[in-house]
Amino acid sequence: MRFRLVVDGEPRRVEVEQGPEGIVIRVDGAEYRGKVRRVDSGIEVRLGPKWRRVGLVGRTAVTDDGTHEIEISEIEDEASHSGSKARSRSARALPIHAPMPGRVVRVEARVGIQVKRGDTLLVLEAMKMQNEIPAPHDGIVKQVRVVEGDSVIVDQIVAVLEAH
């Protein structure tokens, strides 16, 4: 499951996997492993040595040290995708997000071409650095939504892959 979470004005991209061993969670690429359990007053999470309680009320998360304003958006649930009838075939649309704002200096992806995981889809210049945006998965390029010279904002969808 992936979603975008903003806590007290700080945006993060979150990926969550539920496994038999517990939960694996990646926040902007930093990985945590732990466990989650429901209790009467909310949810308890253990990512470090201790269980910590998190209460969720509307757009507020209450933790041991205070309350935090949260926003949730761009929810992608892969588990329900593969379960639904429309997506019962193995292919699925995978949007490629810009990891940061910047300027498109080169587009290597062309609609219809086959790419391998790690192939460069486009090059984004930010802060005087050219950053190659790689394909996260093998697949076919279904859409390319930017051209050279475009400015993109963070999390903007720049291309769509049909992953397989």
Binding site: L5, V27, D28, V54, A61, H68, I72, P101, R103, M127
Partner: protein, 510 residues
Amino acid sequence: MFRRLLIANRGEIAIRVARTARAMGIHCIGVYSEADRTALHRTAMDESVEIGGPLPAQSYLNASAMLRAATETRADAIHPGYGFLSEKADFAMRCAEAGIVFVGPPPGAIAVTGDKVSARRAMAEAGVPVTEGVDRVLGSVDEAREVAAEIGYPVLFKATAGGGGIGMSRVDGPEGLAESFEAAQSVARANFGNPDLFLEKYLQQARHVEVQVLLGDRGVGVGFVERECSVQRRHQKLVEETPSPAIGTAVRKRLREVAVRGLQSLGYRNAGTVEFLFHDGRFTFNEVNARLQVEHPITEMVTGVDLVRQQLRVASGDGIEVSQNEMRWKGHAIECRINAEDPLRNFLPSPGSVVDFRAPAGAQIRVDAGVAAGSTVPAFYDPLIAKLVVGGSSRDTAVRRMLQSVDAFEVRGIHTTLPFHRVLLSDRDFVKGNLWTTMVDDLRLVGRIRSRGPWEQQIAEIAAAVAASGRLKSGPTVDLMRPKASAWSAAGRRQLLAGGDHAVPPRRRW
């Protein structure tokens, strides 16, 4: 002395230059791009003017727009800072033609040092030891192969027009040479509009040391105690210190004399730095930086000399206030560059909104910052947002103080290199002063970064709770006529919530 100074830069260096200039009673004029309308550096100036669009070529690199701004605001001098127009001989020339003093070296000296082959040749003629290599542009792959075989692998291709670590390519043997040659040419053409390459012996496990020089009228001036800047990534400096833990008194004196003599031979004036590689007890010339450098504060901290003040005095004809005989230095200083980059994701640029910014303070701690809480870090410019500089009576004291200062430094909203510094400062080799230019990769320091700290873990806990609660099934949160919390109100809110028993807001350690 000048009355009105235009500061042709942005961020921390614009603020740093304005601090000294204003203390000297000079009226400071700032410039800003469309993307920097709310930038912090504007608040450090007496006045500021918009000079163009967000791309550097439209604004901070736009010589015509810069000169127009200087003329319209009746500036009598321009301080270029570092980067942007600071090492453009053509710009320095145009300033002179417009009757405005360029606070930096003469255009001729900038031109010689900007061409790496000519700089190498000039230094060799002045008796500065140079790295084994060629003093001419390589005409072909075959010529490169011949030279490389003579010198012995590994070798390093360098762009003659290069700088800032861009356009260098290491070759370990004849088989990879042709490919590297072409790749380096295309990088050089793309970055500098000039594909010319030359070649030097690649020195493994070398240290980067450099000497700050300040030359006044008739080339009389001083050389400072050396800085070591071996902690780099992709040839970009991350941490600098002075003095170098590897250099003793005799070598120190020779380094200084050679650097001063080298710059004097070019007819150089004002502040400049001569960079060397230090290898097997020998040092050889690397390049000249014809400007004030990012890491100049560490030199200021151990010597007490304000380099910007001296730059302005040299440029206005008032002369340098220190002489080599009086020059003293004391203790040790270190600088950590705080960049808006995410070390956990291979230093991915991390522009965005700075939600909170709390810098450490105290004796022997100096923070030159270009942002504050509420600032935006645009994606158009370089990622340096602040420099954390500390001093100590010894290197050990300084390292310890730096570690505490890094712990106390809190930046929210964007990712920074702070977690990298924490790992580096605890590394055994670093603590012992055992430094070399590829140590960040060789020691896999980045792989040792385990976390971004407790606040990030709290975000992960909230995220885990959100995922587990079934909350995602009800879709995204929506804004119903509700104004977005601004960074300022969020900061204020945190101040309130952080209250309670604490006289000062609690600081999270990580």
